[in-house]
């Protein structure tokens, strides 16, 4: 059974490798594809982890289904019960944490709606009065359609066409349901700590996606870059600069300068040339292989127990 255990430990370690590879892959893709790769990898790796845990958890149950008494199971594999117990405890804790985090998301959404509805507006816009420079996409909630919430302070900070950039950026978040992708990635971090790095890069690439969409709507990547930079500089003067909840993606500069720099650079495109395309494909298949490896392992564990059961009964 030790060899099986080694495989299980490996399967639980897979997400570290998978997350690193998926992060590399996202770096060479245009933002939209990057977001789907990151979300997909998060779901697959979290699914693989859960499968491996369930595989461990179900060994004693499977044995009893095969009509092998528990004492006999302990005889054959002494670690079976403690391991199954540990896996079960982890699964239970994960489900409770996922539930709690889900409730936190909904409560934040409810509070945000309560506050934002004190603003005025029409269509998909809500203007909240005050000098603070802030704007965000408020996702749909209980039959209310998603809105773009902008403070009057932000409105007056922007120049000319920058208003369009802001609205287009937030509308891209709303129509792309970016908060759902974020929420999925956030819930997955409960399942495996390695997925935190994916949540961080997803947050960044979702902003890049909305930036590029906004640039396409207003027809200028430079104007979009300028709008971002001006809004950020105006906003940072009003306090609350504790580094923000945005994780730093590089040691030298935070996410905002990177977003602005990306807009000033060339338009993102899917990797061209056979070498780069092969590289992307290799990275993608590595992530998939790691995730499906965990699934296959859980299934293999199931088969192994059935097989061992037959051997035990046949003694």
């Amino acid at each position: 059974m030790t060899s099986v255990l080694v495989l299980v430990v490996l399967a639980l370690a897979f997400p570290w490798g998978g997350a690193a590879v998926a992060g590399r892959l996202a770096g060479i893709l245009p933002p939209r594809q990057a977001c789907w790769v990151l979300t997909g990898a998060t779901v697959l790796l979290a699914g693989g982890t859960i499968a491996a845990l369930i595989g461990l958890f179900h060994v004693p149950f499977l044995a009893s289904l095969e009509r092998i008494p528990l004492p006999r199971v302990v005889d054959v594999w002494p670690a079976a019960l403690p391991l199954a117990g540990a896996a079960g405890a982890v699964l239970l804790a994960q489900s409770l944490l996922v539930l709690r985090r889900w409730v936190q998301h909904r409560s934040l959404l409810r509070r945000a709606w309560l506050l934002a509805e004190q603003g005025t507006g029409d269509g998909d816009l809500l203007v909240v009065q005050g000098a603070e420079v802030d704007a965000f996409a408020l996702p749909a909630y209980r039959g209310r359609r998603g809105r773009v919430v902008v403070t009057s302070g932000m409105m007056r900070t922007l120049r000319g066409g920058e208003r369009e950039v802001l609205l287009a950026h937030e509308r891209a978040h709303l129509s792309g349901r970016h908060h759902v992708l974020s929420a999925v990635a956030d819930l997955a971090t409960v399942v495996h700590p390695a997925l935190r790095s994916l949540r961080a890069s997803l947050a960044f690439h979702l902003e890049r996606w909305a930036d590029e969409t906004a640039a396409a709507v207003v027809g200028s990547r430079r104007a979009t870059a300028a709008a971002l930079a001006r809004a950020a500089l105006a906003g940072s003067g009003h306090g609350g600069s504790r580094g923000g909840a945005y994780p730093l993606l590089s040691a030298t500069s935070g996410p905002l300068p990177q977003r602005v720099e990306a807009l000033l650079g060339p338009e993102p495109a899917t990797p061209r040339g056979s070498v780069r395309r092969a590289g992307a494909a290799a990275l993608a298949s590595t992530v998939a292989a790691l995730a499906f490896g965990s699934l296959a392992l859980a299934y293999g564990l199931h088969e192994y127990v059935e097989y061992a059961a037959i051997a035990v009964r046949g003694e």
């Binding site: 934002a116 300028a226 971002l228 500089l233 940072s236 602005v260």
Partner: protein
């Protein structure tokens, strides 16, 4: 689906009109809003949108020339932006659920951004 799309487009148009007025910070006539928005709308369409927003109480208007000049209704009692920011800022899930236009900056970020902004503006002018 087509109907829903139409409604969404109308919603965005009304929102754009409101945004123009909020950004201007001074009363504007239908013609001025139309010129700023620059979407090639008919004058009557703009006049209808504005008068509807006025009826709803979102805009207030003053006579100007042959028509009206509109501006957003602001009242000191409605200053909620600060409270909103304070209450939501402390929530660790904020940036996951509410996608912000810009996040807060570190000291170095400010420097870099000022440089990039100059770069962006130099070339576009």
């Amino acid at each position: 689906m087509a109907k829903r799309d139409e409604r969404r487009q109308h919603g965005e148009l009304v929102a754009d009109v409101l945004a123009v007025l909020w950004q201007a910070g001074e009363p504007m006539t239908a013609q001025q809003v139309n010129a700023t928005l620059d979407k090639g709308l008919a004058r009557t369409t703009m006049a209808t949108i504005l008068s509807r927003l006025h009826e709803k109480g979102t805009l207030r208007r003053t006579p100007s020339g042959r028509g009206f000049a509109y501006e957003p209704v602001e009242d000191a009692a409605g200053l909620v932006a600060g409270r909103m920011r304070r209450e939501l800022e402390s929530d660790p899930r904020r940036d996951l659920v509410l996608k912000r236009f810009v996040s807060s900056l570190s000291e170095d970020d400010g420097e870099t951004l000022r440089r990039l902004l100059r770069e962006a503006e130099e070339d576009s002018e």
